[in-house]
C-alpha cells in the first residue's frame, strides 16, 4: 500500500518534470521556428492568423532584404569585422597570455590585476567615450587627410572589438597555459629552439583546445555585438545587427514584415549552424573560464 503510493508520487513527479522541460523547450523552439517560417511568407499572409503555415516559399523576402535593404553589404562588413577582430585578438592575446602565465618578471602581478580589472569594464559604459576619442583624433587627422579616417572604419571597429575581448581571453588562455607541464619548454630549449620558436611551434599548438573555445565565444560576441557598431559607424560600413535594426525600424513603419524576418534569419543562421556543430564544446568550454563550484 505504502509502496504504491510512493510509486504514484514518483510518477506525478516524473510527469511534472517532463511538462516543465517540454514547456520551456517549446517556448524557445516555437518563436525561433516561427521567425524562419515568417521569413518565407508573403506580406498578405501576415494579416491572417500568425499560426498559419506559409503558403509557399516566398524567397523574394530575402532578395528584397539583400538588394533593397543592403543586407548583403552589411553581411560582408560583419564577416570582415568579425574575421579581423578574431585575428587581432589571437595575435595579441596568445603571446601575452603565454608570457603572463609562464614567465616571472617584474610587473607580472600588476599586469595580472590589470587584466582582472578589465573584466569589470563593460562595453556599454565606454562606447560613447570611445566615440568621442575617435572623433577627436579624426578632427586632428582631418586637417592632414581631409576625411574621416577612424570613425566608420571597419578595421578600427575590429581593433576595438579585439581590445574589449582581451581581458576575458587572456584570463582564459593563461589559466590554460598554467596547467601545461614545463617539460616541453625544456625539451624545446635543449633542441636549441629560442623563445619565439618555443612559443609558436610548441606551446601554441598545445593550446589548440582553448584556442578553439576562444574563437567560438568571441565569434558569437563579435557577430552579435551592436552597440559599439551603432555608435562608431554612424554613417557607413554598418554591420549586420545594426543593419537589422535599421531594417526593423523601416519595415515596421512601412508595414512590410517579410524582409524584416528574412533579415533576422540572415543574422541568426550562421550562429545557429555553428552552435549545432559545436554545441558540446561551447557548453563545456563555458566552465573552463568560469568558476569551479
Amino acid at each position: 500500500m505504502k509502496n504504491s503510493k510512493k510509486m504514484s508520487l514518483d510518477g506525478l513527479m516524473k510527469i511534472f518534470i517532463y511538462v516543465a522541460l517540454v514547456t520551456l523547450a517549446v517556448s524557445i523552439i516555437v518563436p525561433v521556428a516561427w521567425v524562419f517560417l515568417a521569413s518565407i511568407k508573403q506580406n498578405k499572409e501576415f494579416y491572417g492568423s500568425p499560426w498559419s503555415l506559409p503558403e509557399g516559399v516566398h524567397l523574394a523576402n530575402f532578395v528584397e532584404a539583400f538588394q533593397e535593404a543592403q543586407m548583403g553589404e552589411y553581411l560582408l562588413n560583419s564577416v570582415l569585422v568579425t574575421a579581423m577582430a578574431l585575428l587581432i585578438l589571437l595575435l595579441v592575446a596568445l603571446p601575452a597570455s603565454y608570457v603572463l602565465s609562464r614567465f616571472e618578471f617584474r610587473g607580472n602581478g600588476f599586469i595580472n590585476s590589470i587584466v582582472k580589472a578589465g573584466l569589470f569594464i563593460n562595453v556599454s559604459y565606454i562606447a560613447v567615450p570611445i566615440f568621442l576619442m575617435l572623433l577627436d583624433w579624426d578632427t586632428g587627422l582631418k586637417t592632414m587627410l581631409g576625411n574621416d579616417l577612424l570613425l566608420n572604419n571597419r578595421f578600427m571597429l575590429a581593433l576595438i572589438y579585439a581590445s574589449t575581448a582581451l581581458p576575458f581571453t587572456i584570463y582564459l588562455l593563461s589559466s590554460y597555459f598554467k596547467t601545461l607541464p614545463s617539460d616541453f619548454e625544456e625539451a624545446a630549449s635543449i633542441d636549441g629552439a629560442g623563445y619565439y620558436r618555443t612559443m609558436f611551434s610548441v606551446m601554441f599548438p598545445m593550446a589548440a583546445p582553448s584556442i578553439v573555445i576562444v574563437i567560438l565565444f568571441n565569434f558569437l560576441l563579435f557577430w552579435n555585438e551592436y552597440i559599439l557598431a551603432l555608435t562608431l559607424m554612424p554613417a557607413s560600413n554598418q554591420t549586420l545587427p545594426v543593419g537589422l535594426l535599421n531594417l526593423m525600424a523601416a519595415e515596421r513603419s512601412a508595414v512590410n514584415y517579410g524582409p524584416m524576418y528574412a533579415g533576422m534569419v540572415i543574422v541568426m543562421l550562421p550562429t545557429l549552424i555553428l552552435y549545432i556543430m559545436v554545441q558540446k564544446r561551447l557548453t563545456q568550454g563555458m566552465t573552463v573560464g568560469g568558476v569551479k563550484g
Binding site: 608570457v99 563593460n122 556599454s124 612559443m199 551592436y226 545557429l272
Partner: protein
C-alpha cells in the same frame, strides 16, 4: 598537476647561452609579447573608463568643444531628474525580478538534467542554451513578434484558449511593458545559468546522494542539504553576473525593442545614459549617470556577496 616554475626554465636557458645576451633577449621577448596587449587595453579600455569619470565633472554641451569644470553639479542635477529616478526604479526592478526568476528556473532545470534520468536530457540542454547565442537585436525582433498586439503570438494563443480578457498591449501599456521586458530577459538568460549550475552540480560525487537516499532523505531534502550547499560558491558568483549582465542586457534590449518608451516607462540606467550622452550630446551629464550606475553596481555586488557569504564546504 605540476606547477610550472617559470624561473626554473629561465635559469635553465640562462645557463646555456651567454648570460648577458640571453637575459636581454628574454626581456625583449617579454616586451614584444606583452606590449600590444597592454597598449590596446590602455587605449581602448582604461582611457575611456577614466574619461567616463573625468567627463562627469564637466559641463560639455555636445560639439561646441567647450568643456567647463563644474564639480559635482551634474550629480546634483540628477536627483531632480524624474526620468533618471524612473530609470533607477526600472533597473532595480529588473535586476531583482530577472535574477530571482532566472535563478529559480536555472537551478530547477540544472538539478533535473543532472540528477534525474531524463529521456532526451541532452536535447533539452542544447535547446535551452539557444537564446544565449542569439543577437540581442534578434531577440528584440522575436519578442516584438510575440508581443504584437494584433497578430502577435502571445495574444493569439490567449485567443485560442478563449482568454481574450487577458490579452494586453504587451509593449504599449506603461504598466505592463516592464514585465514584458523582464520575461524576455529571463527567456534569454535561463540556459546560460543552467549550464553553469549543471557543471558544478555534475562535480558532486554520486555517493553523497546514494548515502542520503539510504538514510531515507527525500529528493527535496537531498537538494536542499546536498546540492545547494555544495554549489553555493558558484551561485554566489552568478549573483554578481546577474547584476552586471541585467544592467547591460536590459539596456541593449530596451534600445533595440522599445527605445525607452512608451513615454519613458522602460528607460533603464544605461539607456538613459546613452540617450543623454549620444542622442542628446550632453556628454558630461550622460557620463555622470554612468558613474552612478558603475558605483551602484559595484556596491550592490559587494553587498550581495557579503550577505550570501557562507563557509565553503569541501568535498
Amino acid at each position: 598537476m605540476s606547477k610550472y616554475d617559470g624561473a626554473h626554465f629561465n635559469r635553465f636557458v640562462l645557463e646555456r647561452g651567454g648570460k648577458m645576451s640571453k637575459s636581454k633577449s628574454r626581456k625583449i621577448f617579454i616586451g614584444v609579447c606583452m606590449m600590444p596587449a597592454l597598449i590596446l587595453l590602455f587605449v581602448f579600455m582604461f582611457m575611456p573608463t577614466f574619461e567616463v569619470f573625468r567627463m562627469s565633472l564637466y559641463s560639455w554641451g555636445g560639439f561646441s568643444n567647450t568643456q567647463q569644470f563644474v564639480g559635482f553639479d551634474n550629480f546634483k542635477l540628477l536627483w531632480n531628474d524624474m526620468t533618471f529616478i524612473r530609470s533607477f526604479q526600472n533597473s532595480i526592478f529588473l535586476i531583482v525580478v530577472v535574477a530571482m526568476v532566472t535563478f529559480t528556473f536555472a537551478v530547477f532545470f540544472a538539478a533535473i538534467l543532472t540528477k534525474e534520468k531524463v529521456k532526451g536530457g541532452n536535447f533539452f540542454r542544447i535547446i535551452f542554451y539557444i537564446p544565449n547565442i542569439l543577437s540581442i537585436v534578434v531577440i528584440a525582433g522575436i519578442f516584438s513578434a510575440v508581443y504584437d498586439p494584433s497578430g502577435g503570438l502571445l495574444n493569439s494563443i490567449l485567443d485560442m484558449f478563449n482568454l481574450e480578457n487577458l490579452q494586453q498591449m504587451w509593449l504599449g501599456d506603461q504598466k505592463i511593458v516592464i514585465y514584458s521586458l523582464a520575461a524576455a530577459l529571463v527567456w534569454q538568460a535561463i540556459g546560460y545559468y543552467m549550464v553553469m549550475y549543471m557543471s558544478s552540480m555534475a562535480a558532486i560525487p554520486p555517493s553523497f546522494y546514494e548515502a542520503a537516499s539510504l538514510e531515507g532523505a527525500s529528493k527535496m531534502k537531498q537538494f536542499t542539504s546536498i546540492t545547494l550547499p555544495l554549489v553555493w560558491n558558484n551561485i554566489r558568483t552568478t549573483l554578481t553576473f546577474f547584476i552586471i549582465s541585467t544592467i547591460n542586457l536590459s539596456f541593449l534590449l530596451v534600445k533595440a525593442m522599445t527605445g525607452g518608451g512608451p513615454d519613458g516607462s522602460t528607460e533603464v540606467f544605461l539607456s538613459y545614459m546613452y540617450a543623454q550622452a549620444y542622442g542628446n550630446s550632453t556628454f558630461g551629464y550622460g557620463m555622470a549617470i554612468g558613474v552612478i550606475v558603475f558605483l551602484f553596481s559595484f556596491l550592490l555586488a559587494a553587498i550581495v556577496s557579503r550577505i550570501t557569504k557562507r563557509d565553503v564546504l569541501e568535498y
